[in-house]
Symmetry: C2
Subunit: 380 residues, 2 copies
């Protein structure tokens, strides 16, 4: 495999913002990119060498798309894995591997995987029906998570006590003990087919209190060296046990007792790594490309302190996106909006992010406040 040859093609399932940032990174390596997405106006459309509209869950569509590429990767894990397995059996390099996607795709299987490999994770019970949930009322307060189809905060809810059973999901899922955590942190690790791994420094996530989306993050996390090492080792262990080729984002809880527990993983570039485009020697997107193209992994060394604020559609606005306050935030040194090319805003839709750089943590934090308050995605 020579990814620099003129016949080489990389296929990406999914043409959203993660695919778009993968393409942006791929320009440096001059990689030929073919994208499939169900949305005819997906953010990647005009940037890909080839764009195919098709359902990522449809066997035939995924199989046909993957048949003439050299390497096939994903920017979203909700894809037809049967088609990927057939492509893999027929010689297409599929990274991350179908077996990895299958484990991560179903949160029940993913949790069981952690348990089977002695990877610390919050206690859980699997539930098949709402009656199962009711049986475990003594396990509450807990998060109920659907096994499948949860993404960007969907399919996850908190059940506080027996009173909440009425709103319980009816599909197969799991109940996960609510952790009284100190911080939520994330480590992105890349693994190459020869087992070589590189981790990015730990980042510290702050979630939106209602919508279960990352609201902003700081990098590197303000944690002890011991916790940093523990988190890095845990991420490496998950990647190693999965034998993943590509990027793995491992979200974790740091408990008040200083314990690090794996929350969940994503086998692809991740929202918690967007700041790496500006703040690290190698971005998560270039790193993913290097891993799946079987190139040496890059240094994850930090160039600057960074924060990342997600730019979500404001509640109450649906329509053509208008970025209120853009001119003002652009005036601040070290503030970099990154828009995703989505024309229509909707409440809490991820429309972009803002990377913020500074040499000083407290002025970085001040800038985060100014950006969170000052830049809004509305429609007019």
């Amino acid at each position: 495999m020579n990814p620099f040859s003129k016949t080489f093609k990389l296929g990406i399932l999914g043409g959203g913002q993660l695919g778009r940032m993968l393409i942006q990174a791929s320009i440096d390596l001059n990689t030929y990119i073919k994208i499939m997405d169900p949305d005819a106006e997906a953010p990647c459309k005009y940037l890909a060498h080839e764009f195919v509209q098709g359902s990522l869950m449809d066997f035939d569509a995924v199989y046909a798309f993957g048949k003439n590429v050299d390497v096939l990767t994903i920017e979203i894990e909700h894809v037809n894995v049967d088609a990927l397995e057939k492509l893999e059996a027929e010689g297409v390099k599929v990274f991350p591997q179908p077996k990895v996607i299958r484990i991560i795709q179903d949160k029940r299987v993913q949790k069981q995987f952690y348990k089977d490999h002695d990877i610390p994770t919050p206690d859980f019970v699997l539930t098949d029906t709402v009656e199962d949930v009711a049986k475990h009322v003594d396990f509450l307060p807990a998060f109920q998570k659907l096994g499948k189809a949860g993404y960007d905060g969907r399919g996850v809810q908190r059940l506080k006590s027996a009173e909440d059973l009425g709103k319980a999901f009816t599909e197969p899922g799991l109940l996960e003990k609510a952790i009284d955590f100190e911080k939520e942190i994330s480590v992105i690790v890349a693994r190459r087919s020869n087992g070589e791994m590189e981790t990015f420094p730990v980042v510290e996530l702050v979630f939106h209190p209602v919508h279960n989306l990352v609201e902003y993050l700081f990098a590197p996390a303000q944690i002890s060296v011991e916790v940093e090492e523990q988190a890095q080792q845990l991420a490496r262990k998950v990647a190693d046990k999965l034998e993943i080729v590509g990027l793995l984002a491992v979200e974790m809880f740091l408990t008040k007792e200083g314990e690090v527990l794996v929350n969940e993983s994503a086998p692809r570039p991740h929202n918690s790594g967007h700041h790496t485009i500006k703040a690290n020697y190698t971005s998560q997107f270039e790193q993913h490309l290097r891993a799946v193209l079987d190139l040496p992994l890059g240094s994850t060394h930090i160039k600057s302190l960074a924060a990342m604020v997600n730019l979500l559609g404001e509640a109450g606005y649906t329509g053509d996106a208008y970025y209120e306050g853009m001119e003002t935030v652009l005036q601040i040194a070290g503030v970099y909006p990154h828009l995703y090319g989505k024309q229509t805003t909707k409440p809490f839709r991820k429309m972009g992010h803002v990377t913020i750089l500074d040499i000083n943590l407290s002025s970085l934090q001040n800038k985060v406040s100014v950006v969170r308050d000052g830049l809004k995605v509305i429609s007019k």
Copy 2:
């Protein structure tokens, strides 16, 4: 003008590597980009929203291209300025302005401009014919530069003494006193229409001894604070006197006496600023976009020491490009090849560049040597 509106269009004349890197930066701002280039397979072709094949020197082609964009800019100064003037008169925002391009396009006019505005520059005489050159034999050794059509080292040659008169160019040009310089340096400055300016830190250029192309550079330059300030002020003065809107790259000589003289300027992103993509808060490409889109200019703060090595086609090879040594250089921490998407290599064709980051100057220099020796563009 709202560059974030869904109807906004930015036109770029030229679709080479500079246009390509402008597009790469424009993805963050979600700017709609329309490109014209004479080459049907120009590096920008597949990345632009719209691509038009056409001659940049043809009045009708340039006029038709520019007529339906909101802002028109360039990535090469060899364009039809009459068409740009007509577009400007009809309300298209053309940045840099046609009057600026006209001054810089002709090296004779450019040199006279420096003289008229007390901008220190090596002594020169204008020559219209080869006979004129012969009259100034006492001015040699000097560089003979053609007024027009010089680019990437073409149209420039050193005339040592009367013996060299036989090879003198016959077209109008100038003779410029050869300077016994200590270093060649460059400052990139951005200017917005309200007069706001931002300069990038001075970089130190090392030219190929034969081909008059930048072979590699270091940033920031190893110079005194006084020289740094002198060079920055000079760049600001040139930009201010030109009243340019957009980016201006000012190449300078640092003489052995510590004097800074302007060599020549380019009204666009420049080879001496490619490292800013990875090494500075704001890249030269984002800065150019901010300037021509009338957005606040970004901080040029340095994130890392950097070097940039141009990746030129090896002598003796013409054909499909093959990057020998790529895997090896990718193994070095902080080494980032950036390819320009040109399928065919030719001797000394700019095929890409390599950005090198390090926290230490001497190991940075070592990496430069390894990359220069280790990575070759050949054909097989």
